[in-house]
Structure formats: structure tokens, C-alpha cells
Symmetry: C2
Subunit: 231 residues, 2 copies
Amino acid sequence: MEEMGKKCDCDQCQLKTLFFSHIGTDELSDICEIKREENFAPGEILINEGEPIREFIYLKEGLVKLSKRTKNSKEQILSFSKPFDFVSLLSVFSSDIYKYSVTALQPTTICMINLEVVKIFAQRNAMFAMDLMSRISEATDKIILDNLEIKRKNLKGRVAHLLIYFADNIFNNSEFELPVSRREIADYIGMTTENVIRALSEFRKDKIIKIYGKDIQVLDMQRLEIISELG
Amino acid sequence: MEEMGKKCDCDQCQLKTLFFSHIGTDELSDICEIKREENFAPGEILINEGEPIREFIYLKEGLVKLSKRTKNSKEQILSFSKPFDFVSLLSVFSSDIYKYSVTALQPTTICMINLEVVKIFAQRNAMFAMDLMSRISEATDKIILDNLEIKRKNLKGRVAHLLIYFADNIFNNSEFELPVSRREIADYIGMTTENVIRALSEFRKDKIIKIYGKDIQVLDMQRLEIISELG
DNA sequence: CGCGGCTTTGATGTTCATCAAGTAAAGTGG
DNA sequence: CCACTTTACTTGATGAACATCAAAGCCGCG
């Protein structure tokens, strides 16, 4: 049952310490008044490449993909992000427009704060600016390192890498529902859809995973890790 | 002839506006006292992956490569950087140790400032912190975008891409001396040395470039761009 | 019910890695 | 300074990995 005159709840947000640990109570309640929350269903686009950046955005809940369109309109996927991995901050301080698109893969909630307001906060409160800097740096580092990692692997190694990522980092479970299509996997690892499917089929034949449509069950994590490492 | 009791010259540094446009004259002269300059010959290592980050470092002059070693000790090259492209800032605010190595490719001068000092400045001066944030963001964005670009090209497209990069961004000349070995090109574009050589040889046979060892002369930039685009 | 998108498998061809071998260039120690 | 070793560069031959093309089944949706 929703309260009338509902009190602002930013002080209870799990993400508070990430971004606002150096923001005072008064200021936090200011932010709380200004912020807007928005929900997205899987497949919905949060941010479209090329749009002007007006808001500072972070993920409260859900899972998204960051992607970019090539000139011949193929999609390249940069990374998958969940809460605590940053999202909109890429480009936020280096460009006026988004260089990547962001699309929900699962029911997703974001929190938006007008960018000018955030900048004013950052200018007034240097510790807050430092926190932001760390977040940006961590998020981009992660993307760069992950892409390097994938670059040195072959087809099977790349697919294994992504399966392990979903199992260990996103779902914390060896059994999960793939939040992406085979084509999206291909767009992420830089191979074709057909060959992604072939890799998955071979894992199935080798009894490393079970596949029921989008549902994946990892049977032999150890072998998957060896493939990811050596592949 | 060097002056005795040489005055501090940071106010004349070309890079002043990049990092220190929001630093007052007094503070700048403080920084100027603290900063250290260091020179490196081609091949010398500025930063070794895994070392603790103690200094804030930026390029004043020269050309460097950022690279990382894989477990089986192959080198992966992330990017090439010249002054104004940032260098040490990757990881500076997100980790205690360097995640990449930095090696000089040409005679290189860097400027170093103790990291704690920089952090104190950033905490006291939020505009300075914002400037840093923009720089970090730009530098990492560039790396991410460039790697995506390369990912979607084939062998010849990747080699063409790099040749154009050197001609247009580094040397501003269609004739230049390659600052890297064939193997380093391979480590950057993610192909083998042999195939890099084959691509270069074919460009030579097709009269797109001339090759004299490390000296490259681009004869037909237009065709090179087409190859880079379509490849 | 039919259309389009997603998935799967097979057949074929291209691209690229690997192996091998040789030349040139550059560093090393006597 | 010269023999010696190592590293960089180059080309060819071969095979493996991957893309492309084709065809068919499946599912959701209008």
C-alpha cells in the first residue's frame, strides 16, 4: 500500500554508498527530490546512440547491453552491465552525445538525475567528483580488459567465457536463462550466429552444458573454464 | 645555455590548459616545484604492468604503446598514445596497481606528479577534478571505440586502418617511419606477424604504398581508406 | 493462418594461423 | 672490428578455423 506524501527514500537506496557517500544528508534529500526513476521491459531501448546526454543515469535493477551500430548497420555489443557496473557514465564527461546505445535485456529500473545538477554537485563537492571518477574508471577498465580477454580466445573459448560470465557474475548459478539471443552472443564475441550455435551444440554433445532453448545448465564448469582459458 | 636558479616553467607548458586550466597561479607554481620530468629512449619501459601507481603521469613529448601480457606471455597492444592523448590515467583512480605496461616507441618525455598531491588538488578544486574526469573519459572512450572499429575489419582493413592512423594522427604526413615492428602491428590488430607482412606486401604490389624497411610512403590514400572501410 | 525472426544443421569456400626456410639487420662478446 | 647469436623480416606451402550460403523447423504475433 503506497503512502500518501511519501518520504524520499534515497537514503535507503543500496547504491547510495556508491555514488553519494560524500554527499551530506541535506544535499541527498535535494537529489532525492530531483531524481526520476524509470522502468524498462526487456528489449526496450534506454538510450539511443547519437542522442544528447541530458541525464546522469545509473542502473538500480536489471540487466542491459551496451552496443554500437556500424556503418552497414550491424550491431556490435560492447558489454553487458548490471547494477553497480556503471552505465551511462561512459561518454558522460567527454561528449555531448551518447556514443553507444543501451538496451534492457531484463526488466530494468534506472535512476536519472539531470546532468547539470550532477555537474554542479561535482564542482561543489570534490569528494563526490572523486567517487564518480573512480566509478567511471572502473567501468571503462572492465570493458577494455574484457574485450582484450575475448580478443585472444578462439570461438569456443569466447562462448565459454561468456557462459561463465553469466553463471558467475550475473546469475550466481550454474543454471540460468540466457538473457540474450544467439545473435547477440555473436555480436558480442565478434563471430557469426551459426558458429555460436555450433559451439553451444558441441558443448552439449560433450556433456559440458545442457540446453533447453534459452535455458542453460552448466554441467562441467571445470572443463568450461579450461576451454575458456586455452581457447 | 641553462640558467642558474631556473624559474619554474609550467606556466609555459603547452599541456597546462589541458590539466591545469582551473588551477590558480600560486597552486600551479606549487605543482611546478613538485613535478618531475623524465626522458625515455625508444624501447624503454615507462610503466610495468603490476607496479604500484604512485605518480600521476602524462606525456609531454613522444609516442608510447600501452600493452598487456597474456598468461602465456604474449603481448597484446591496447593503443598507441601521443601527447594530449592521456596515458597513465587509465586505472589511476580505479586501482592501486597498473593494469597495463607503457613503453616508449619514440624519444619520450613525461611529467610526473605524486599521486597523493594530485588527489589533494582534486579534492580541494572540483573544477580540476572535472577536467581530469573529462580527460580520463576521452582517453578511454578513444581506446574502446578504436578497438571496436578494428574488431569489425578483416586483415587488410586492419592494417590499412593503422597506416591511416599513423599518417593522419601521428605524423600528419603520407610519408613516415613506422614507429613499430611488424610484430607490434600484429599484436595490436590481433593477427599474426606473417599476415601483417603479407598485407603490407600486397599493398606494395598494388601500388598503394611504398616500403623501404620501416619507411612507408602512402601513394594512394583514397584506396587505403576504401580498404580500411570495407575490409 | 501466414509471416518474420530465431534457431539449427550441413555443405562449401575464404581467410587466416601455422610450419618451414631463408635473408637481412641488429645486438654481443672476444 | 669481426665472428656469433639473436631478432626482425619475408615468402611459400599446408591445414585449421571461421564465414557464407542454403534449407528447414520452430515459435510468437498480428
